[in-house]
Each structure stands twice: as C-alpha cells, then as structure tokens.
Subunit: 424 residues, 2 copies
C-alpha cells in the first residue's frame, strides 16, 4: 500500500463534470489500495474573477484581505470534490491550508512555507478517508492570518505535504501529458520526456517552462520526493522528476539535451555610460535588490579605454521593470551614468540537459543552428547544464524550432495533445 | 463612544457598488466616534449558486462539506468589504466565524452557538480597526470543523457577537425601512413600527414576518441587547426592538395590536379516527418529535360518543410534511387510526400585540372582520399577546387587509419602500 499525493490544477476541476471525473480517478486510486491525499486549486477562472471583484472595490487592496478573498476559491473546489467523492461511496474530508497544518511566514501573496504539521490529514487517512486539501494557502505562524503562497502555490503545497507525510509519490495533474522537449504549440513534433532530473527540471522551470514551478521542484529535490507530472485527461504515464533518471539502467544513452525552454516575460534594461570605477556595478545591483527587483542575466561590456565608461545590461521580469527604472533614475546623479535604455521586445531561449556536461560542442551547435535560422543573439548566459540566449521576441519560435531540430529532439510524429486552460 | 455592531444582508452587498456604499456608511459610523463591528452575509445570490454547484456533483452532499462550501460566500463578501473600507483610509480586518470565536455544536447546516470568544475582535477594535466578521458560520467545539448556523444565521451571529462584546446596539440592515404593521406588498398603507418589544417581535417572527429570525430575537432578549432594524438604502430611523417600548414615556397610549403577520409556508395534516384512549395523542406527537418534525398548531375534535374516535389536526412546515406522513404511516396499525389527510393550501394569519392583554374584545373584533370579508377560519391558536388563525391560502391577503383595517393600523399614506432581494 502506497501513500499517493495528487494535485489537480484549476483546469482539471473547471466545472461539475470535470470534478466528477477527477473524483472517479481519486476513488480508483484509493480502491487500488493506496492512501490518497489530494491537493486542489480553485476552479477554472475563479481566481481571475475574484481579482476582478477586488479591483472593483479597491485599486490597491491590502494583502491580508486579498489572501482572505482568494482562498475562497480553493474552499469551493475542495468541498465540491469531497462531495463528488462521497457520492461515489468513498468517505472524504476537505481541509483548508490552515487545517492541513501548512504554516507560513506573514508575506501575504507570496508566503513561504515554514512548517507542515499534517496531524488532521494523518487522522483522516487513518480513518480510511481521502483527504482533500486546499492548495496555494496556509496560515501565518505569527498572526494566525490566512496567507497565499503566490505563483505555483498549489504545486508547492502538494510537494510540501507529500514530504511531510513521507509519501511515495507526488502526482501533479495538468492539461498536457507531461514535460515536453519544447512547447508543442511551437514545435508540434516535441516529445514527452519520460524521466528528468530535479536539476534539469529546475533549469526548465527557471527558463520559462510553465508546467512546474521552480519552488515546487526545489522542495521535492530537498526531500528526494519523486514527482510524476501527468494528464488528468488520460491514464498515460507522464514525466517522472527524480534525482537520477539513469539509475535504473532502463534508459538508452542519455540525450545531450533534455529540452528547449523559452520565456517571453522578460525585459532588458541597459545602463549606459557607467564610470568604470570599483563598486559602481555593486551600487546598481544593491539598489535593485533593495527595490525587490529580480535580476536574471547580466552582461557588462568591456570598458572603452578612451572614455573610461562602460555599459551594463541586465534582464528582469517585465512586471518589475517600472520599479527598477524608477530606482535607477534616483541614483543616476550619484553614480553618474549617462542614460537608461529599456527593451521589452526580447525573448529567452534555453537549452537544458545534464548531458551537455560531457559534450563540449553543444554551444557551437546551438549558435550555428541559430545563425543558420537567421536569429541574432543579444545576450548569453550559461550554467553547467544550461545555455540561454536573449533574442528578439519575434524570433523566439524560430530559435526554439531550430535548436530542437539541431539536437535531434523531434519525434517521428506529433505526440502532444494540449487540453487548454491553466492552474495555479 | 459607543460600540456598534452592524449586520448587512446579502442584498446590501450584492455587487461592488453596493459594497462601496456600505463601506461609506461603516466609515461614517466609525468617524462619528464609535467602535464598529460588522457582520456580513454572502453577496446576493452566491449561496444559491453554491447550492446549485453542490447539486451538480452530489444529490445528497455531506453536511460537513456543504458547510465548507457555503462558508466561502461570506469569505468573499467580508474580504471585499474590508478592502473597500481600507480604500477609504480606514483600517479594517476581516475574520471568519472561527477566527471571531463563534463556537458551535457539530450540527452541520443548523449549528447552535455554544460560546463566543471574541479575543481577536477586541484586539482589532483596540487597534482602532473596524472588524468585519463572516455571518452564518462558526467552528465546532468538538471536531474543529466549519459549521453553518442555518436560516437567519447572520442575524444570530450579529446578536451573539454584540452580546459577547457588550455592545450598545446591534443594527440589522435590510432592504426595507424597518418592521411594518403588515407586509407592505399586501397592505400598501402598512406603517413602520418605531418600537416593539422582544416578545412581540418573537411572535411576529414565529408567525411568518421574515425581517428578523426568531433565534436572533430570543438571543437579544436573553442579553437585553437593543436591536435596531433599518434600511441600508436610507439613513432613516428604523424599528427598535427592546424590552419595554413604553419605558421612556415618549409613546402615546400603546396600540392594541402592533402588527399583522402571515405565513404561507405551513401545511395541515389530519389524523382521522384516532381511538379515544389515554396516551394515543402522546404516541402520535412523540413519533413526530423523534422524526424531528416541527409542529405548530394542534386541534383535537371532541370525541364522537357513538364511535369512541376523534380527529387530530396539526400544522407544520410544508418542508417537514413528507417525513411526518411517512412516520405516521408506520404507526397506523399500532395506533389504529383510520386515515391521514394532507392539505398544503393553507395560510396562517396572526394578530400580535402586547396591548391585547388589557383589551378583551380583540378576538371578537378580529373574527368579525374576517367574517365580514368572507374568510372562513379552519383552526385557531392563541397566546397572551397573539391570535393566529388558519385560513385558505388564497384568502390570506384578504384576511391580512381586513384585520389591519379593523385595528386602525393603516397609515394616511403609503410609507413602505421595498428594495428587493433577501439576505440570510
């Protein structure tokens, strides 16, 4: 008998008939002899509708109240799911994040999990019940206020509870069949990846693959918890995220590249004419850190000997751009830089693969493929298992397809079916 | 400085603009120097929509999960209201029933309040904040599960919290200007009652006046808490419900009759041919009590000497009728009664007034008015301050108008404005 944690996103519980189908899958898992804990997101567009209501009463709603509002979404879906399961003759109990023991800090809207004390969940399992838990939410340790975990929150709830319960697997149900070698909407011949390492999956997530959030994979890696990403619309095996995909020796030789990720949500800022003195770059990035701006890639040009000045470019989420520009303008006089350039028409394309460690020619093949496709590279950044480039936003599709082809990732036929919708 | 508890029903917070108007009223009360605690119902039709969703996934949803589902309704309205207040520059905090310390028994869907421990509410008031509390809900003492209080639940929450906080007044906001001498939809010249006693208000509520629920008035009487029923659409004084309306001597001579209530939600069952032996009636009503059927009026005919048999008629909520009939069929053989008659085409019309204690002619005047209007009386029941009659359902309007006129309750002109919608 295994302990299985299942997470269903918003598109999997979008309406009553979806909820009833999910209930059948849960009951089947329970009847197969497993203990089952289910983490559920809000139904379909509920969160957007609630945010819209909030905007109607207040342009800048307090974080505490926004969290109180948004957590009603999971409350609805989890109660309905518990009812649908009970209607199939299987006892089920729904629990809020607070009742499930998801203890967080007090950062409303982006709380971090401090501790998980799932006493009531264990009690439900011991009584033979299926436990349904609200994703995305917790309760703050200090103020006992309701908090939300921010983006990818339900996946993180699932992994955190699975770890605390010492579950055998955490199944993340979504509307595609697993993790693909590229976005099938761009590359129709993209293949499903059967197994991938935590490290590669984290790089994929950080580089724009939206299927799993970085936090959730980090959490799973820390506890060595296997994640199984699969479709709630089929019973096919999906993608397993594990520590060492090759350990069982069932795989053929590992491919050099596991997948190609892309991200259109970043922008580029260039600080032009920074005096080439010790500490100027540090001041710039300290200022940005104080403004809570997340920086991704950084490039500093070689200083021109004649002027003693240099340019510093960096990328950041487009949503952080106005805060960053404002913060930088305030220190322009003190630093003495000449001007700021802003470009939000960029995209990031990344190759990810643990195999590239032992294949020195990857960068050359990647750049040649982009050059052949006529794509201009604006910035480059690398890690041990990743190469990312910034290109023009309208060249992202071309770049992804070219890279995918150059590393022989194409399947013989179209594999992916996309069912539409997104969870949280 | 007073401590004011305000309760707003679903029609008062039906959409964003309603919520913003309510927020302004709350802030005005706070700025006038009062501490303010607000109890709020779910927005407009939210509860019905949630019930509809529940029906779609399960014909008979478990009570625990139905309560979990329904309580999301107040969570939405209270968070939005807190945001709208904050947007006016006044700090506000929303609290679930559980957070507000509303402790109940474990009867899901109709929980009773056992205790109120409003520590967090006091804390919010001490910090100068407005406290917004979800009506209709609590947390069970034994299982720590979320419960709902059933019909009239938000009013009961308001009165219970007001009593626990030793508030100066509990204001119940609704979509009419107060308690009227009759339903203005039937009697357009009905008058607003400025003050009414707890006892009379309880009789009104028990006899079908929907403006306040019986439980809430009972609770207020026990703690001597003044209730002010008023419209959220105007600033006019409404109806004060207090222990002794005449104590201040500001009123003219008390009217004999305070108001005329009616109720179309009852049905009548007649047990025909009951053997006239000691204990048979007791067995019948013990059976009904065990089936949790609420009985209202009971009439037993004089036994016919020739047959040694009698008929017993009683009224009950129509919704309890099928349970009652089934329970009675089961004991037909044991009791030996002949048959059961069922009639749901009845209505109850009640005169309520503490003044009738000292005016012996009330019954005669009432019956004469009904006779003059051609209304036939089927059953009669009286208390010290109430006379109720059962009439044909299609004669209710005629009976109410005739009684209202007979006791000089008509105003010189139409006073009532009904704004539409109902709360919970």
């Amino acid at each position: 008998m295994a302990l299985v944690v299942q997470k269903y996103g918003g598109s999997s519980v979008a309406d009553a008939s979806c909820i009833k189908r999910v209930a059948q899958r849960i009951v089947a898992t329970k009847k197969a002899g497993n203990d089952v804990v289910v983490i559920v997101s809000a139904m379909g567009d509920t969160t957007d509708e609630l945010l819209d209501l909030a905007q109607q009463v207040s342009p800048l709603p307090p974080g505490r109240e926004l969290d109180m509002l948004l957590t009603s979404g999971e409350r609805i879906s989890m109660a309905l799911l518990a009812m649908a399961i009970a209607n199939l003759g299987q006892e089920a109990r729904s629990f809020t994040g607070s009742q499930a023991g998801v203890i967080t800090d007090s950062s409303h809207g982006r709380a971090r999990i401090i501790d998980v004390t799932p006493g009531r969940i264990r009690g439900a399992l011991d009584s033979g019940q299926v436990a349904i838990v609200a994703g995305f939410q917790g309760v703050s340790q200090d103020t006992k206020d309701i908090t939300t975990l921010g983006r990818g929150g339900s996946d993180t709830t699932a992994v955190a509870l699975a770890a605390a319960l010492n579950a055998d697997v955490c199944e993340i149900y979504t509307d595609v069949d697993g993790v693909f070698t590229a976005d099938p909407r761009i590359v129709p011949t993209a293949r499903k990846i059967p197994k991938i390492s935590y490290d590669e999956m984290m790089e994929m997530a950080a580089c724009g693959a939206k299927i799993l959030h970085l936090r959730c994979v980090e959490y799973a890696r820390r506890f060595g918890l296997p994640i199984h990403v699969r479709s709630s619309f089929s019973t096919k095996e999906g993608t397993w995220v594990v520590s060492d995909p090759d350990s069982e020796g069932t795989e053929m030789e590992q491919p050099i590249i596991s997948g190609v990720a892309h991200d259109r949500s970043e922008a580029k800022i260039t600080v032009v004419g920074v005096p080439d003195k010790v500490g100027e770059a540090a001041t710039i990035f300290k200022t940005l850190a104080d403004a809570e701006v997340n920086i991704d890639m950084i490039v500093q040009n070689v200083s021109a000997a004649t002027t003693g000045r240099t340019d510093i470019s960096f990328t950041l989420p487009t949503s952080d751009a106005s805060v960053a520009l404002t913060a930088l303008k305030k220190i322009q006089e003190r630093i003495g830089f000449e001007s700021l350039l802003f470009d939000d028409q960029i995209g990031k394309v990344s190759l990810i693969g643990a195999g590239m460690r032992s294949h020195p020619g990857v960068t050359a093949t990647f750049f040649a493929a982009l050059a052949d496709a006529g794509v201009n590279i604006e910035m480059i950044s690398t890690s041990e298992i990743r190469i990312s480039v910034i290109v023009g936003q309208d060249e992202v599709d071309t770049a992804v397809s070219a890279a995918h082809r150059a590393f022989d990732l194409d399947a013989d036929q179209v594999e992916a079916v996309i069912y539409g919708g997104t969870g949280r």
